[in-house]
Every structure is written in C-alpha cells, then in structure tokens.
C-alpha cells in the first residue's frame, strides 16, 4: 500500500495512525465484550424486556376490547325487561294543558231523547208475557 503513495497520502496516513493510537488506549477490554455470555444476555435484556412490555400491552388491549365487547352482546339477555307502555295508553305529562273548560261537550255527542226519562216508564206486567192466547169457543163468536 505504501508504494506509489504521495506525500499527501503519507500525511493522511500519519493523521489516521495518530487517531488510531489515541483511540486504542480507550478501547474496552476484549474479555468484557466476548468472554462471558451473561453480560451479553443482560445487554440483550432491554430489547427482550421491551418486547415483553409490548406483548403485555397488546394482550391487555385485546383483553380490554373483548371485555368491552362482551356486555354489548349480552346486555339484552341479562337486563330485566323494562315495563313496556302502550303507545295508545301513554299520556304526556303536559296532557292537562289540552283540557280546556267545556271540552267535554265538544268530545261527546248528546244522546237522542236523553232528556226524557224513559227508563222509569211503567212496563207491562211480566205475567202477560209468554202466556198462551185465549181461544174463544165458536158459539161465543157467533
């Protein structure tokens, strides 16, 4: 590599070599990074922990969704039947406002002959009803 190298190349190489010497002093120990698998596992733990947290959050969100969906389906079956009111029977709370004085006269039709009290008229005696007619003898008719 050094063959055919210009002066500038040598200068650059010298600069890089100086940088390398300064950095090599502060390089971490090989055994700290390579030998024990335990530190590697502990270093890998944050990532794994992150995945565990993510999985737990996912499971919790799925569970909450299922929890909220369940009552929607089961609500009609579990709830007691509400008292149903017929539409025709229902009256509004403000119904009394429609009751004007004398309104009954407009809503009702007077009965024909209701003024005479026919109900108290004397009736035929019951004994005449259902009795066979008297047949007069022939000689009486003549």
């Amino acid at each position: 590599m050094t063959e055919g190298m210009t002066g500038d190349d040598r200068d650059l190489r010298a600069r890089f070599a100086a940088l390398r010497r300064q950095e090599e002093v502060h390089a971490p120990g090989f055994h700290a990074l390579a030998s024990p698998p335990q530190p590697a596992l502990t270093r890998a733990n944050p990532g794994r922990k992150g995945w565990l947290v993510f999985a737990a959050c996912l499971a919790a969100s799925i569970a909450s969704v299922l929890w909220w969906q369940r009552p929607i389906h089961e609500r009609p079956a579990h709830r007691p039947a509400a008292p149903t009111v017929s539409v025709t029977a229902w009256t509004a709370p403000t119904q009394f406002l429609l009751n004007t004085p004398g309104g009954e006269m407009l809503r009702s039709v007077p009965a024909f002959g209701a003024g005479a009290d026919y109900g108290n008229a004397p009736r035929l005696p019951q004994k005449h009803r259902g009795q066979p007619k008297k047949v007069l003898p022939k000689e009486e008719l003549d």
């Binding site: 600069r15 300064q22 950095e23 090599e24 502060h26 971490p28 090989f30 990074l33 590697a40």
Partner: protein
C-alpha cells in the same frame, strides 16, 4: 479454525475491530460496544461462520458492518414508529461523541470534523485504507462493493479530505 484459535485471533484484532465499530456507529461509543459484543456473540455462537474466502480481518469487519447496519435499521424503525419527528430530522454531520473526543488531540479532532463532512462510503473507505491499513480490494470486500467503485469513492474522498484539511489562505503553516 478451532474455537481457541478463533478466540485468540478475535482478541488480537479487538482494538482494530473496536475502531471500525466506532466508525460504523457514527463514533458513538456505547453503540459501538454493543455492536462489537453482538458481533462476537454471532461468531462464538456460530451464527456467523468464517468460510475462509477472505482474510479473517476482512470477514470480521464485514460482520461488524452488517451488525451495525442491522442495529441502525432497527433504530430507524423504532424512530419511525415512536418518534417520527426526531427521526425525520436530518443529521448532516455526525459529529464525534464529545466524551470520546475529549481525549483526542486537536489535530485528530480536525481530522474527525473533516471526515464528518464526507459521505459515509468515502469515510468508511478512507478509514479502512488509512486507519486499518487494508488495501482497496480488501476494503471493497468489507463494504461489499466492486473494486472500481471503491477506488472511485476512495479517490474522491481523499481529494475532498485534503481540501478540507488544507490550511486557509494566508496561513501557509496549516492548522496543526
């Protein structure tokens, strides 16, 4: 390759791997540590298997890069879901971690700031070639791109970096 030999090789490459992981994670130290740990777990548990088609370093760097991309994708998705506003905010210059850069000399800080202005691919290629001493062919293998593309990006990035590191006019001594 036996597990013991693999373990020893990983230990030998650990500082370089950390430097590459730091670069793949926009120089966020915590993230780089996690990416590197995940990479080691993948290798030691057998989910990433070295097939011997390339050098172990090239393969290891490719696994680190892929792991960082997966992590970034996950973070982006999380951002899309939980914090769309923040995720939509573009971050044009991934500035170095202030805590990590506190121990870095001014010249290196200027280099980091200049690199932050480059595209991700240019940055990664320059890092792999200059910082990790890989050839452009090896770097293209790590980034899973063709050698021609890698060379183009490397040359453009180098030109841009020189321009950014060049001393301002009227100060021929430079910024060192």
């Amino acid at each position: 390759m036996t597990e013991t030999v693999l373990h020893e090789e990983l230990e030998r490459l650990h500082p370089a791997s950390f430097g590459w992981a730091l670069w793949c994670c926009d120089r966020r130290r915590d993230e780089a540590e996690e990416v590197l740990q995940t990479t080691y777990l993948k290798i030691l548990e057998g989910s990433a298997v070295f097939d011997g088609n390339s050098s172990l370093r090239t393969w290891l760097f490719a696994v680190i890069r892929r792991t960082a991309l997966e992590r970034r994708r996950r973070r982006w998705l999380r951002g899309q879901i939980f914090d769309r506003w923040q995720a939509s905010q573009p971050s044009p210059l991934p500035l170095p971690d202030p805590e990590a850069s506190a121990s870095i000399a001014d010249s290196s800080r200027a280099l980091l700031l200049s690199l932050a202005a480059l595209s991700v691919r240019q940055r990664q290629l320059l890092h792999l070639v200059f910082y990790q001493d890989l050839s452009i062919e090896e770097a293209s293998g790590v980034l899973n791109i063709s050698v021609g593309t890698a060379r183009t990006h490397f040359e453009r990035g180098k030109r841009q970096l020189r321009k950014l590191l060049a001393p301002p006019r009227g100060n021929p001594r430079g910024n060192q």
